[in-house]
Symmetry: none
Subunit: 401 residues, 2 copies
């Protein structure tokens, strides 16, 4: 949601331009500040930002994306398993990528291919689980002893480049072993896919064959204590993005499914707001995440980004009107700055505002990047938010006596 | 001293309401900010907060309360010794606590009991020192090899509960050994106390017998370099609370006794101010600590808290008038937020103001939680204060060349 000022908006940011009375109400009645998710100038990923927002020291605990995304898609990953994000893709005979998404292959075709791939036999004692998720997307989980996340991607992440050989990223025998296992498996996958009837049929229909699986983002489950363990709270997650859901699951939060929540600009904003209010009836903490502003930013769509901020504002309006302000704390923030101009996550801090009983209200009146910089929170880190909220809730533990 | 806004004060804090021209003069002529003693949202103890204020990284060096409180009460604790805070208490035959303070037993009775307890023989090679301090309070120091602070308390900290067995808190043989030694010793203490003439006499007089010793807060001397070693300075401490005195002693500061300084709201504020001015004639640094605001906060006494702030303001007035502003730096702050509402230490930041020559004076005019948040220091940590002050004094060492 956070951004940099741009010429098209008369050197303002989308947050500064959007009509957002509810965001502003939180700023007006609460305490504001700016926040570096990780540290000043460091662009956070969606995974590390979510870890930080839930109070973890991402620099210490981050262990790759693959496993988090897998558990967020309801795929079982056990401690020590190494998981990867995968794409079905189209390659030519020289293994040059022609289409990274195999024509955004339909779920049904992908499911048939995945079923065949699951029958592949590995030469080592390692077992694997391969599951398609949405369209060309899939997850691969390696299960065995002595596996490592220190392996490179096979996905070159651009068309016209050759599929990459997976390489160990450190000198441990585990990394070499994992790279070997993966190279062997991906080659066997390619053999199965080349001959598969689904692909023969796709070629007949003029569709790009899904004749290779590209892997990236080796990851394992982070070794973290859950929020219930740390703070003795019940916590819920209302999110559609599987990566964010995965982080919340690793943190011991309950994942709440919401019909119509898609993680896209077309998501059902109000359904998520209602689910949040409902969750707060039985939970100490509800974490509501909207992905849509990020998607709009990656696409450089200024109008859409502003419109989504205004829709989020309506969600907040619903939450403000349907929770008890005498006993509820409400914090609004952004999990990273994504620039409409560069289309990338950037290292600029994000605004944050917290309202609720006995807050040291400041005189900031608007929720945006520059107004909040003048607030009473000054400049905090992402991992400070949970301790601050838990302290307000009376759930924190004194350090010392 | 720091607090949250409360309804009874029209949503202001005690600092915002109190008449405090001298505090404000420091803010007006100096640079202000807010400070997290440990980190945002973390409620500090009095021990960890004092360590931080003296420049130590409390998260790394904190080693329990017992030893700090003991050395603050002039009881010798050597490196490796494990010290406990103790209470004389009354229990029934089933070891259920009836009175945690044994009727606030008089010093004379407690001294007689302590003298007898010191004669107890332990089965192991560990030696001990047991000393009564004020009323029911006492200190126990275990001296020997292979002792650990990873042991639980025997004090259940409430009446109606049974005395707890001391348990090891980690799997080290040292923790198990220390717990065994302590359980053995406390049982022998109980035997001696049950038969003691002082207690027989107390029962005859209708007073609760001091028939058990309760232990809590296992601690050892923190492994820290002293302030004279780190900065080459002479430093003094003007405090009454034995825990704060203990931290200052561990930091190599001279403890100055002040007649009438009691650590209570009835303390002699002006005597402490005079001792501080006197100390500054021979020392580079004087640390003046007032406990009274904390006591008032724990009691939820709004009026008293405001009154104490006003008395501290008069101390500061004396110090301002009796030190040379051209050569003296004066910093005022609070060692934690203690909420009048919850009665607990809270994780909210505290205000800080520093005045003195060549300071980058900002435009803050008042010393309170919200005014200082707009100051030129922005948001700092407790452990930053000493380096800042030492740098102003020209006592800091360059890092690098």
């Amino acid at each position: 949601m956070a951004d940099r000022p741009i010429k098209e908006l008369d050197w303002k940011t989308p947050l500064e331009v959007a009509h957002k009375p509810s965001f502003n109400q939180i700023a007006k009645t609460g305490i504001c500040g700016i926040m570096d998710l990780i540290a000043p100038g460091i662009p956070p990923g969606s995974d590390t930002a979510s870890l930080a927002l839930l109070g973890y020291d991402a620099i210490k605990v981050y262990s790759g994306r693959g496993a988090l995304e897998a558990i967020g898609s309801n795929i079982k990953v056990l401690p020590g398993n190494v998981a990867f994000r995968c794409n079905f893709a189209s390659v030519n005979k020289e293994l040059v990528v022609l289409d990274r998404r195999a024509g955004r292959i339909a779920n049904e075709d992908a499911a048939k291919l995945a079923k065949s791939l699951q029958k592949v036999k590995l030469k080592s004692s390692v077992e694997f689980l391969f599951k398609n998720t949405i369209q060309h997307r899939a997850v691969l989980v390696l299960r065995g002893k002595k596996l490592s996340i220190a392996v490179s991607d096979s996905d070159p992440e651009q068309t016209g480049s050759k599929v990459l050989e997976v390489k160990p990223l450190d000198e441990s025998p585990e990394a070499t072993f994992t790279a070997d296992v993966l190279n062997d498996l991906l080659l066997k996958f390619h053999d199965v896919l080349e001959k598969h009837p689904v692909n023969k049929d796709r070629v007949r229909r003029g569709l790009p064959p899904a004749n290779i699986v590209l892997c990236r983002g080796a990851g394992t489950i982070p070794k973290i204590k859950s929020l219930p363990e740390i703070y003795g709270i019940k916590a819920s997650c209302i999110a559609a993005a599987s990566l964010v859901k995965g982080v919340c699951k690793a943190a011991g939060m309950k994942l709440i499914s919401v019909d119509g929540a898609t993680g896209t600009p077309q998501t059902d904003f109000m359904a998520k707001a209602k689910a949040t209010v409902e969750a707060l009836k039985t939970c100490d903490l509800a974490f509501l995440h909207v992905k849509a502003t990020d998607a709009a930013s990656h696409d450089g769509n200024i109008k859409q980004k502003i419109k989504i901020i205004e829709k989020i504002d309506q969600m907040i309006d619903y939450i403000l009107k349907n929770t008890d302000s005498a006993s509820t704390y409400l914090a609004v923030t952004s999990d990273h700055t994504t620039s409409l101009l560069t289309g990338n996550h950037e290292g600029d801090p994000v605004p944050i505002a917290i309202t609720g009983p006995y807050i040291r209200k400041d005189d900031v009146e608007k929720f945006d990047e520059r107004s909040c910089a003048k607030g009473g929170l000054s400049r905090i880190r992402g991992m400070d938010v949970m301790p601050i909220l838990m302290d307000l809730l009376g759930k924190s533990k004194k350090f010392g006596t």
